[in-house]
Amino acid sequence: MIAPPPSGPVPYPKDFSLRLLADMLRIRRLEERCAQDYGAGLIRGFLHLYIGEEAVAVGALHALEPEDNVVATYREHGHALVRGLSMDSILAEMYGKREGCSRGRGGSMHLFDARTRLFGGNAIVGGGLPLAVGLALADSMTKTARVTACFFGDGAVAEGAFHESMNLAALWRLPVLFCCENNLYAMGTSLARSESQTSLTAKAASYNMPAEAVDGQDVVAVHEATKRAQANVREGGGPVFLEFQTYRFRAHSMFDAELYRDKQEVEQWKTRGPIHTFSARLKAEGKLTEEEFLALDREVGAEVGRAAAFAARGTWEPVEDLARDVHAVQEAP
């Protein structure tokens, strides 16, 4: 049984509310465009879409500071966008063009940006957690008041890296904000089929770490919980674990026939879609009209169109540059 859609007043002024809505819509339309471009052969390899989970990246990242560190997974287009990468550079990266944020070397799963302190784009499940612990360790040792937000899925909870990292972060009281995006499935394996203990907050608590479960479809709940948690972490209270309960409306990646879940379940979760439920609440409070919504959507559509054109115009790195960026200084092995 699915809970009713997120409801209730939105405790933000109109412009911030529209900012949240706009960012969710930008993610949604970008991801749809990616799906389309993948079908057309412009994006290749693996593509993991964030459709349905927008409230998590938007709500959480808007609660962080620009100087904070963000570590994410291969399902990170939304995080990259909200963090501040341009749609141009994201789409160009996915097309493999030099103008992409990783010079076309990474692709969909490896979006990196030094300016906004986005440390990937990591494709090994659980691989980002030790990295986040290390970044937090550096901040702790240099007494830099900064939060390292580490996003990972429910699948990562099964990996040794999760347990080792949680333990180390708690043991050394490191400023890590562990953000688990629990969409109930690790590729094709549901949480129930992979975890003896399906309460993720109970697991986190066993590492002597504060832990909270949040409705990941409600951008307000996500934002509020993250605001509270990051304040704790930033003030030296040690790591915090947040579980965002969410759902992906599309397959794990392109070309996944979704044989492992019920179409009905998907439809039920769609009634809790983050975008339409949030816009409904805003409309109910008079903070948004239908015309404003359509105008916003058109604007977002135009941004997507411009990004696609930018990516299409992009250039290919010359093959002669193949061996660059293996080392800081190129040399023969």
Binding site: G120, L131, G134, D325
Partner: protein, 324 residues
């Protein structure tokens, strides 16, 4: 000139690094209170405190990954993985993150991390504690791999490794820690060039790390029999100093590569491939190698000795290239 053990030399290098750069810290299992499994870090906790000399739980994957993250975050960590055998638990972080990050991010991020590992066999510690997997790491673009085989190199190679903006793995053969040698006062700042440890002309013996003393011993015995062998210490395994290898091979026209890794897919195989590619027409005999036998390391001493490269095998291989 000072007389030092390999262990003391490495400790001196670590101390100097900790003292001169506040970004440097050591992290690993039992590096602090225990004084280090091989006593390399003994006394450093007392001198620099628990923030700079950190004891980590038995979580290779996490603390190597944390080392990567700390390096990304501006520190200069020296992560000690107790032995190469346990590094397998951290292989994902080393290969999939440390080695790849610069390239995957289009040059935005580098990982200035140093990982030190003990390696090798010979103390009857049996199959799971006796690997020589330097070649696995030397296989991966994005990593640099060093094998100090002398006391001077144990003292001198850490500084350039720390200064390098990319991940560097330092392999210390466990049998070398007690090695005692005279070391010059001047430091060698280079970590990429091979070094001729003994000049010769009849046959080139190319080796590294823990096999260096055995190779020198073999060369001494050969000299007594009138065979003047050259010994080339590789020092750096990735990148390989191909120019030095070829120069030695062209001079001697015969070569034996001594490598403690298992023969198949060994680093010796890579070296011989390069020799065949670039110096085939300078050879007077097929290139030869002395490696470990294809067997997990046995516990019983006589079997372990038979499995590993030994001076006797090196001498025989050298003579064979001369048709003797």
């Amino acid at each position: 000139m000072t007389r030092l053990t390999y262990r003391e030399a490495m400790r001196q290098a670590l101390r100097e690094a900790l003292a001169s750069d506040p970004r440097v810290f050591i992290m690993g299992e039992d590096v602090g209170l225990y004084g280090g499994t091989y006593a390399v870090t003994k006394g450093l906790l007392q001198e620099f405190g628990p923030e700079r000399v950190r004891d980590a739980p038995l979580s290779e994957l996490a603390f190597v990954g944390a080392g990567i993250g700390a390096a990304l975050g501006g520190m200069r960590p020296i992560v000690e993985v107790m032995t190469v055998n346990f590094s397998l638990l951290a292989l994902d972080q080393i290969v999939n993150t440390a080695a790849l990050l610069r390239h995957m991010s289009g040059g935005q991020f580098g990982v200035p991390l140093v990982i030190r590992m003990a390696t090798g066999a010979g103390r009857q510690v049996a199959a799971q504690h006796s690997h020589s997997l330097e070649n696995w790491y030397a296989h991966v673009p994005g990593l640099k791999v060093l094998a100090p085989g002398t006391v001077a190199d144990a003292r001198d190679m850490l500084a350039p490794a720390l200064a390098d903006p990319d991940p560097v793995i330092l392999f210390e053969h466990a049998n070398l820690y007690n090695l005692e040698e005279d070391v010059p006062d001047e430091r060698n700042p280079d970590m990429t060039r091979a070094a001729v440890r003994r000049e010769g002309s009849a046959v080139s013996l190319v080796t590294y790390g823990g096999s260096l003393p055995k190779t020198m011993e073999a060369a001494a015995t050969l000299a007594a029999e009138g065979i003047d062998a050259e010994v080339l210490d590789l020092r750096s395994l990735r990148p390989l100093d191909t120019d030095a290898i070829l120069a030695s091979v062209r001079k001697c026209r015969r070569v034996v590569v001594v490598d403690e890794g298992w023969r198949t897919g060994s680093l010796a195989a890579e070296i011989i491939a390069r020799i065949a590619e670039e110096a085939l027409y300078d050879l007077d005999a097929p290139p030869a190698r002395v490696c470990s036998e294809e067997v997990p390391m046995p516990y019983a001493k006589h079997l372990e000795d038979a499995a590993l490269p030994q001076p006797g095998k090196i001498i025989a291989a050298a003579k064979a290239t001369l048709g003797k």
